[in-house]
Every structure is written in C-alpha cells, then in structure tokens.
C-alpha cells in the first residue's frame, strides 16, 4: 500500500465511520440503547486510532489531495456542469491531520463521558446518532478540499448542532436555543456563500489547493468568507447564539460549543489564510479583539456555571480570531488546540458537577464541592488555571504566542489582549471559589457525590493534556511554526505568518504572567468566602450591563422586530389586502358589479327593449356610417 493509498483509506475511514454509525442508529439500532452507544463510540474510537496513525505518519508531509489525484477515484464528482465542478475529495495537510486528531480525541472522550451522563435519558440513541452525525460533518469540514464542499459540511455541522442543542426539545428554552443557533449561523453562512460565489467569480476555481496558488485577490471576498467564521465561531456581532446553546446536554457543549465546532471558524481562517488581504486581516483582528473583551466582561457577571464557560469560550475564540488577524495562524491553531483540551475539560468538569448536583447549575446555589467531589475539583481547577494562563500550563504558552503576535502587529490589540487575560483569570477564580469553596448553599450541593468512572476517566486524561500540551516536549508549537504546513505562503505577494521576535516574546510572557496572576489574585480577594456577589455593589450599572450581556439579545430582538418581522407583517398585509383583496377580489367584485349593472338593461319592459333596439341601431349607424 503506498502512502497515498494509506492516507486515502484512513481518511475515508475516519470520515465515513461516524456517518455509518449515525445511519445505522437511524435505521434500526435505535431500539437498543447499548447498541446505539456502542456503534457510535466504536466508530469514534476507530476514527481516533486512524487519525492518530495518520498524524504520526504524515504530519510532516506536504498537502495532498485524495482522491482527486488518483485516477481510480476520479469518478467521485459530486456535481459537474461544464466548467463548474465539485469534486468529492479530501485535502490532507498537516493542519487537517491535527484538527482530525483534536476532533476525534475530544469526540471519544465526550462519548465515554456521555455513556454515564446521558444514561437515564429517553433520547439516548438519538443523542448518539446526533453526535455521530456531528463528527461526520465536522471531519468533513476538516477534510474538505474545496470551498463548496466545505460549505456543505459547514451547513451540516450547523444542523447537527441544532439537533443536539434542542435535544431536550420539550423544554421551550432548549428548542428556542437550537433555533436561534441555527438561524444566527445561517446569517453568517449567507456571507460565506456570497464569499464563495465571489471567489469563484474572481479566481475561477473553488479548489483550495488551486486557490492557494493564486492567493488573495480582494478584501471583499476574504471578509465575506470571514462572515462564515463569524457565525460559526460566534464572533461579535453574531455571538449571541453560543450562550443560549448551553441549553443542550453538557457533553455536547463540551464537544461542539467549546472544543470543535466553534473552532471550525478559526480552523477555516487558518487554512484559508492566504485568501485574506492585509486590510481584511486588520478587520478580522479587531472583530476578534472586541469579541474577546466583550465576552470576558459578560462572563464576570454570569451565575450559571455553563454560561460562564460559554462566555469564556467566546472570549477565547475572539483571541484566536485576533491572532489570525495579527497574521499569526500558528498561534491561533496552537491556542485552538490547547483550548480544545482545557475547555473540554472545564465543560466535562461542569458536567460532572451538574450530574452530581441533580442539574443545579447556579454557582451561588453550589459551593463547598471541593470536599464532596475532590477529583472533579482538581480537574476543574486544572482547567481553570490553564484557561487563566497560569504559568507553565498549556494555556499559558498558547496565550503567550497570541499576545506576542498582537504585540508585533497591533499594539492596541496587545493591551486589549492583556486586559482580557486579566479578566479571564478573574472570572475563573470567581467561578472556582464560588462553586467549589465555602459552604454548600443549596440542597443539591449538600447531597452531591462523585461521578462514576466513565465521567472521571476523561477528566483525568484531559487534565494531563491541559497541563502538558503546551510544553516544548510535545512539539506542538514547533510543528505549527513550520512554514511548510501553511498553504499558499510560498507564492509571491502573499501575507506571510509573522515570526515571533524575541522582544515580542518577552513582552508577551511578562505581561501575560502578570495579568494572569493579578487576575487570580483579584478574584481571590473579591470572592473569598463571600455569600453573594460583591461586584454589583461596586460597579453598579456596569455590572448590570455585564449580567445582561450588554443587551445584545434585546437589541437584536428589537432590530429583528423592526426590520424583518415588520417587513414580513407588511408583506403579509399586502398579500392579504392588496393583492388578494384589492387586486383579486376587487377585480372580481368590479366584474360582478358591472354584470349587475349591465343586467339592469334587461328591464323586462318591451317598450324599453324597443327603445334600446332603436338606440342600438342609431349608435351603429352613427359610428360606422359617419
């Protein structure tokens, strides 16, 4: 078996096994809960193993498209019309190998965790089918070799996310959240689609490899493509769906809304880095920065443990996008990887807490869990420290890389980044202190007991990754800094990812450490042993604003009501009253009325008839004779 064939086989196994699992569950396995879970988990584990083999074996190889270069597989065309063709082919480059590995790893862990977490759920089989479908779609994004294929899987992850968020569809909040997520994503996808169309018009191709040989052409195309990432990675101004998506089961939040799907936007930006002009990058970086700051501020005043994590996810995604904008896709991918580990850890930890505390999610009703759930506590703290960028944790290194990029590209963003790092440390400290320390403040917290092994096992594994992923020993950073793994950077005129200078490195390291420690310290001071949140008293209106997410939901609801809904109402009224009413009924009524009037002529009186006859004759003679 040649390398090429091996690559192809493994990639296809990775991609299609989850789909087969989903189809299998849908077609009949859903009647047996264990079989469904087994199918799904088995597929994911095999996919994980294959990904691992692929990564180890090929992580240094240049980008390769399978099977389009393989004559035997040339037939797999999804669509072909003249000069417009969409090949179903996988683009395997080091970046996609890394992403595959991340997705399958987290996927495996989350599924193991779910075995216990969802055990009593009525929609157990449906849940695993959804997860498998999601994994298929996500891996499709990772492997897609052209933009349209990417868009297809992009949409499919959207729908699997929709299905999983509204898994508990009887709950109105969950159902609404799913809908909101899907529609908000669709707004981003709208831009994405236009971007694809524009790229096709300007470049004449949609194939990523071919595109990478052309490079960026206009700012507009890049920005439109970026719209897709704004939607999927929940960037400002389309960030509103992600917190609501926490209505889904917690493992889903861990997998989809923390580690993988929301990172797909960042992944796409990194992979298509060559499509962005410097102007586009500036805008991208600012969007990322704003998202990071806003989300961090909002996170400070949230009380739901999952929502805190959701806002922190938003904030970290903003970080990654900012890094891409600062011409640092390597830093971005680095943070994406570490973030996947520690945020999955945090979410699963939160899941364990929620599981143990009978679905109590308000941190002010928890407390004192440190003693009841020691293992979970340790895991959660590990994750929190990693997220806060505590020195030598994985998050420290990746955040450091991003700050360094920002330092070189855009100084204001650097300071913004530092501020965000401080805020991050602060709210994570708040979360840990309030939820785990002190005395239990609610029934649920008092009765809590440690979760079973299926749940703690993944926690331990992820804790290890969260600590060590950034170390030089893992080689992740070096791997990403290798220029060869980036598409399109070899052509002339392309934007080259920045190389981090020593000064930047130093500045980032020092300010990052200080921010992290300062944030943790502030949090310790503010929340040590408190019974209720002291911040609203100190900050007043600002704290309210943070708690109410700066009123974005209200703003959008208002906007929607005043634009689209109002238009819809006008259209409906127009339809009902003007077209169907005035137009159709009106004209038929007019005809009817004319008919009634005309009939008056037939008065029944012979004399009138004779008169009309004579008049008719007269009219006829007048008209046609003279």
């Amino acid at each position: 078996m040649t390398d090429h064939e091996l690559k192809l086989t493994l990639a296809m196994v990775v991609l299609f096994l989850p789909l087969l699992a989903a189809v299998g569950i849908g077609l009949g396995a859903r009647r047996w809960r264990g079989l469904s879970a087994g199918l799904s988990l088995g597929a994911t584990v095999i996919a994980f193993v294959c990904s691992l083999i692929l990564f180890i074996k090929f992580h240094g190889a240049p980008a390769d498209i399978v099977p389009a270069t393989d004559a035997a597989f040339h037939g797999i065309q999804w669509l072909q019309l003249g000069d417009f063709s969409v090949d179903f082919a996988a683009l395997i480059d080091p970046l996609s190998l890394l992403m595959m590995l991340i997705v399958t790893t987290v996927g495996t862990l989350v599924q193991i965790f779910s075995l216990a977490y969802m055990r009593t759920d009525a929609g157990y089989s449906r849940y695993f089918a959804g997860l498998s479908l999601f994994l298929f779609s996500m891996l499709g994004i990772v492997l897609a070799s052209n933009l349209l294929l990417l868009f297809i899987f992009w949409e499919l992850v959207g729908v699997s996310s929709y299905l999983l968020i509204s898994h508990w569809f009887e709950k109105p909040a969950a159902a609404d959240a799913g809908k909101k997520a899907f529609i908000t994503n669709r707004i981003g996808d709208f831009g994405f689609l236009l971007g694809i169309l524009l790229v096709w018009q300007l470049h004449g191709t949609l194939d990523i490899i071919e595109l990478s040989n052309i490079g960026a052409v206009t700012t507009a195309a890049g920005l439109l493509i970026f719209c897709g990432a704004v939607g999927k990675s929940a960037q400002f101004p389309l960030h509103v769906w992600l917190p609501d998506a926490m209505e889904g089961p917690t493992p889903v939040s861990a997998l989809i809304h923390a580690a993988t799907m929301v990172a797909a936007g960042v992944y796409m930006l990194c992979k298509l880095f060559f499509l962005f002009t410097p102007d586009a990058l500036v805008i991208i970086s600012w969007i990322g920065g704003i998202t990071a700051l806003l989300a961090a501020l909002m996170a400070i005043q949230q009380n739901d443990i999952k929502r805190i994590l959701a806002y922190s996810t938003l904030s970290q995604l903003g970080y990654m996008v900012m890094a891409v904008g600062c011409a640092g896709p390597a830093a971005s991918m680095f943070h994406l990887t570490t973030h996947a580990a520690f945020k999955a850890l945090l979410f699963l930890g939160a899941g364990a807490v929620i599981y143990s505390c009978h679905h109590e999610q308000d941190i002010w009703k928890l407390g004192g869990l440190r003693k009841k759930l020691p293992l979970t506590y340790r895991a959660f703290v590990t994750g929190a420290l990693a997220l806060a960028g505590f020195p030598l944790m994985s998050g420290f290194f990746s955040k450091d890389a991003i700050l360094a990029q920002a330092f070189m590209a855009n100084q204001p963003l650097f300071y913004l980044g530092v501020a965000v790092a401080l805020l991050t440390a602060f709210y994570m400290m708040r979360c840990v202190l309030v939820a785990f320390h002190g005395e239990p403040r609610g029934e649920a917290a008092r009765d809590a007991h440690e979760a079973p092994g299926e749940m703690t096992g993944p926690l331990i594994f992820l804790s290890i990754l969260s600590i060590g992923l950034g170390w030089h020993f893992f080689g992740l950073n070096d791997f990403l800094l290798n220029k060869n793994i980036w598409l399109g950077t070899t052509i002339t005129g392309a934007v080259i990812p920045n190389e981090i200078t020593h000064t930047a490195h130093l500045a980032a390291m020092i300010s990052g450490t200080i921010a992290s420690l300062a944030g943790l310290a502030l949090g310790w001071v503010a929340y040590r042993g408190v019974k209720q949140d002291p911040l609203p008293g100190m900050l007043g209106a600002l704290a309210r604003g943070m708690r109410d997410k700066f009123y974005f939901d209200e703003l959008y609801a208002w906007l929607n009501r005043w634009t689209q809904e109002r238009l819809a109402r006008y259209a409906d009224c127009f339809d009902r009253w003007i077209i169907a009413g005035l137009g159709v009924r009106g004209s038929s009524g007019a005809v009817d009325l004319t008919g009634c009037l005309l009939r008056l002529v037939q008065s029944g009186n012979l004399q009138t008839y004779a008169l009309l006859l004579a008049l008719g004759l007269l009219v006829m003679l007048t008209f046609f004779l003279f």
Binding site: F153, A175, F190, A568, A571, G583
Partner: protein, 502 residues
C-alpha cells in the same frame, strides 16, 4: 410503441376501466390507482435506466429518445408526438414517483372513492404525458387534462370553510394563465404553421432565425411568461397557491404542488426559451426581479403563517423563485440548476403535503398555535417533517440544496445583487420560517388539550420513505440528475447561444 406511451397511457386506461366498475367495490379503486401509478413508476424507472443520450441534434429525432409519432389532426399541424431528453426524463421520473406516493396517500378519501381515483389517474396520465409531449398542442392539451381534475378535487373533496372559494379562485386564476399561454402558443403556431416542437426549434436555430420580429417575440414571450407564470405562482400572481393547497385534499395538493405546477416552468424552458430568444432577452431581466417577489416577499409572508399548509404553500411558491432565477440567468449552469430545483421541489412539496395531510387527518387542524411537541407522540412523522423542513431551507444532503446552489452559481456572475438577495431569502428567511414551524409543531411541551394524534402506521410509511429516499439520493448524488441533464446539454447550449446572439 414507445414505452413513454405506456407510462402515461396506463393510468388513463386504468381510469377508463375503473369507470366501468360499480362504486361499491371501494378497495378496487384505491388499489387500481396504486397499481396503475406503480406501473407507470416501474416503466419510468426502466426508461430512466435505459435512457441513452442522443446528442446528435441533426438526427431525425432532434436528440430525443423513445420517440413515437402518429397522425392526429394533420390539417392543424397537430400530431401525437412523444419523446424525452434528459430534462423531461427527470421530470417524468419525478412525476411518476410523486403520483405513486399520492395514490398511496389517497386513503384519507372516504367519500366517492371512484371519482377520486379516476380523477387522480387522469391527472397522473395527463401530466406525465405533458412532460413527454413533443407537440405543443398535445402538451397543452394533456396539461389541461391534468389541471381540470384539480379544480374538481378541491371543490368536492376539499377541506375547510372556504374550499369553494378556493376552488373558484384557483379555477379562474389558472384558467386565465393557461389561456394567456394558449394565445402565445397560437401566435407561435401562426408563424410556423406547425405544433411540432423539435421542428420549430430546428427552424428557429438554423433555417429561419428571423421569422418573428423582435417585437412579436417580445409579445409572445410576455404572454408565455405571465401565462405560465400564473400557473406556477409567479409573483404577484401567486395568491391562489396557498389558498388552493390549504383547501385541497392531500393527494391533490401533492400532485399539483409537486408535479403539475412544474409544467409551467417546463414549458418556459422547453418552448419559450428556445423559440423566442429575442423575446427572452427583453423579458428575462424583468423575470429576474419578479423572482425576488417569490423568494423574498413570499418568504416573508410565509413567516407570518399560523397554518402549516399556508406555510408550506407559501414556501412552495417561494421556492419557485429559484427556478425563475435559474431561468433568468440564462446560463447553462443556471438552467441545469433550475431543472434540479424543479425535480427536488416536486419531491419535497409532495412529501410536505403528504405529511401535513396526515397531521390534518389525525388532529383535524393545522393551526400551529394549537399543536406542539408532536415529535414525542409521532416520532416517525415528526422526524420526517423535520427533515422536510430542513430540506426546505436548503440543507445539504437534500436534492434542494444541490439545485439551489447550482442556480446561485449560474446567476451570480450576471446578477450579483439579485443572487445576493435571493441567497438571503434562501438561507435566512427560509430557515426562519421552517424552523419556526419545527419549533411550534415538533418541539416544545404538548398542550393539555392537544388533539390525540397517532403516527403513520405500517406500510403507509412507504410513500413517505420513497419520497424522502429520492430527495436524499439526489441530494447525496446530484450527479444522477446532472448526468441526465448533461445529455440535453447541446440543445440547452444552443438556446443559450441564441440568447446571446445579439
């Protein structure tokens, strides 16, 4: 004899046979209809499989396969003339699929089964024949044969308070459309003195390209565009559609929304575009803007619907906008996309109306405010409805997406603004109303006073599965569609070339 003749002759023959059966034998009618449509379906699949492209436009059959001709009214230049190319082949297959599904779904009819079955079969035969006719008169004639049962079925077996109004409005509206188109067709005939479609097209494209002046072409094209547009629900002539589908019995709504409505579009592609390239040049820009009326405006109207059928009806009108956009783009890609959307939407509309028909049969209401949480009580139905709704908002994996995206690619280069607005309507507005329906009907808690509903039993699932299966099949492998359309490529290219000639 060509197998095509059997495909559409078989249901008509069955209708005639059923006329002689006494009305007491209720099940005979039901099974007769199913059997006849199944026969057509099997034959259509056979033809689909055997179909071999004949790309030689100069051949005696002008690139059509399975051609059969016979004299009918020679003194008017009218003949019995059937044949298929890639485009009509797909529509025939889709029509046969939907007809079979509709016959299976006709079980809800509990009164006058005899007449219903006969009308359904006439409808099926008529529309199948209309898609394969190569004589313009025959085409029109068979379409009318399919259209008229619609009116009767809405009037007799329709539901709701205003079914009579719906029947009247539909009749008058659609007849007006058909008549306008007829005037246009007669005007074409007066120039060429024949109704033989391939011959006329051949003369337009090679020997007599300038037989009609630009002004005449413009007039005729306008007549065809608006006449056929009324049949399809082109904005602003669409208000009959939601009304009619709201009142029509399930099988009728499936057949009409799914298949018969496609005829207007088919005729624009088949007759108006090739014969009237100059007319097309004058009017297609107008059509491009009108299609936004469908996509955007009807989408917005659909957002306001409280009734499931109203929503599906409006959305089905909205989806016609894609086809119009594809036609207006006048590119090979756009036209291909238009045909794909026609096929996909035919299957989808039939599926959606079949589902809403089942719900109505169970709950006696389609008011979305009164229903909720149905996914728990009717998992199979609910899953299918969810998939249909998602297909309706253009989710990849369903044939609709393949068609819509192709249309966008076809239209983008020439009309970026319109395509952009259309994409907004497709991606966002479509998602808003489709998911709203899912949220209200399937999700959420069940109301305490919700009517008792039961899932689709046993073999009754078959038609649903067939329709959904076809949607998924063509969605995952749109090449199955494009391969067939590709065989008509040369003639489509001719059309595009003629269009761009000036």
């Amino acid at each position: 004899m060509s197998p095509l003749t059997y495909i559409f002759g078989w249901p008509i023959l069955m209708a005639l046979v059923l006329m002689a059966v006494p009305r007491e034998n209720r099940s005979v009618f039901r099974w007769g209809a199913i059997l006849a449509t199944l026969g057509s379906l099997v034959l259509a699949l056979f033809v689909f499989a055997k179909f071999e492209p004949i790309n030689d436009l100069t051949s005696i059959n002008h690139g059509y396969a399975f051609v059969q001709t016979a004299e009918w009214i020679p003194s008017l230049g009218i003949s019995f003339h059937v044949g298929v190319d890639g485009v009509s082949m797909l529509l025939v297959l889709m029509a046969a699929l939907v007809a079979f599904a509709a016959a299976c779904c006709a079980g809800g009819i509990k009164a006058r089964e005899k007449e219903f079955s006969i009308l359904l079969l006439l409808m099926t035969g008529g529309i199948l024949g209309a898609f394969m006719a190569l004589d313009i008169f025959l085409m029109y004639f068979l379409h009318e044969l399919a259209l008229i049962p619609t009116f009767i079925m809405i009037g007799v077996w329709g539901r709701g308070e205003n079914r009579e109004f719906a029947a009247y409005k539909t009749t008058l509206y659609l007849s007006l459309g058909a008549l306008l188109a007829l005037v246009g067709l007669i005007m074409i005939y007066l120039h060429y003195e024949t109704f033989n479609l391939p011959e006329i097209i051949h003369r337009v494209q090679s020997t007599q390209p300038d037989l009609m002046t630009t002004g005449q072409q413009g007039l005729i094209f306008a007549l065809l565009m608006f006449g056929l547009g009324i049949l399809v629900g082109l904005w602003p002539f669409h208000t009959w559609a939601p009304l009619a589908y709201g009142a029509a019995p399930t099988a009728t709504a499936m057949m009409h929304a799914g298949v018969i409505k496609k005829f207007g579009l088919f005729m624009i592609i088949r007759v108006a575009l090739p014969i009237l390239p100059d007319g097309a040049q004058q009017w297609l820009p107008v059509l491009a803007w009108l299609c936004l009326g469908n996509l955007l405006y009807c989408g917005l109207v659909a957002m306001r619907q409280r009734d499931l059928n109203g929503l599906i009806g409006n959305s089905s009108v909205a989806h016609m906008g894609f086809v119009f956009l594809g036609i207006a783009s006048m590119t090979l890609i756009g036209l291909t996309g238009a045909v794909m959307v026609m096929v996909a939407h035919g299957l989808l509309a039939a599926l959606a109306f079949a589902l809403s028909g089942h719900l109505h049969q169970q709950a006696r209401t389609l008011d979305m405010d009164k229903l909720g949480g149905l996914l728990t009580v009717m998992p199979f139905w609910g899953t299918l409805l969810l998939m249909a709704l998602l297909a309706g908002c253009g989710l990849p994996g369903f044939a609709n997406f393949a068609g819509e995206i192709t249309v966008f690619f076809g239209a983008w280069k020439t009309m970026p603004l319109i395509t952009g607005i259309a994409a907004w309507a497709a991606l966002v507005i479509g998602a808003v109303y489709m998911l709203r329906a899912a949220r209200q009907l399937l999700h959420g808690p069940r109301a305490d006073d919700a009517p008792h509903t039961e899932d689709i039993p046993g073999w009754h699932k078959l038609p649903f599965i067939i329709l959904l299966g076809a949607l998924l099949l063509f969605g995952f492998a749109p090449k199955l569609l494009t391969n067939k359309i590709e065989t008509a490529r040369e003639s489509l290219e001719h059309v595009v070339e003629m269009y761009k000639r000036k």
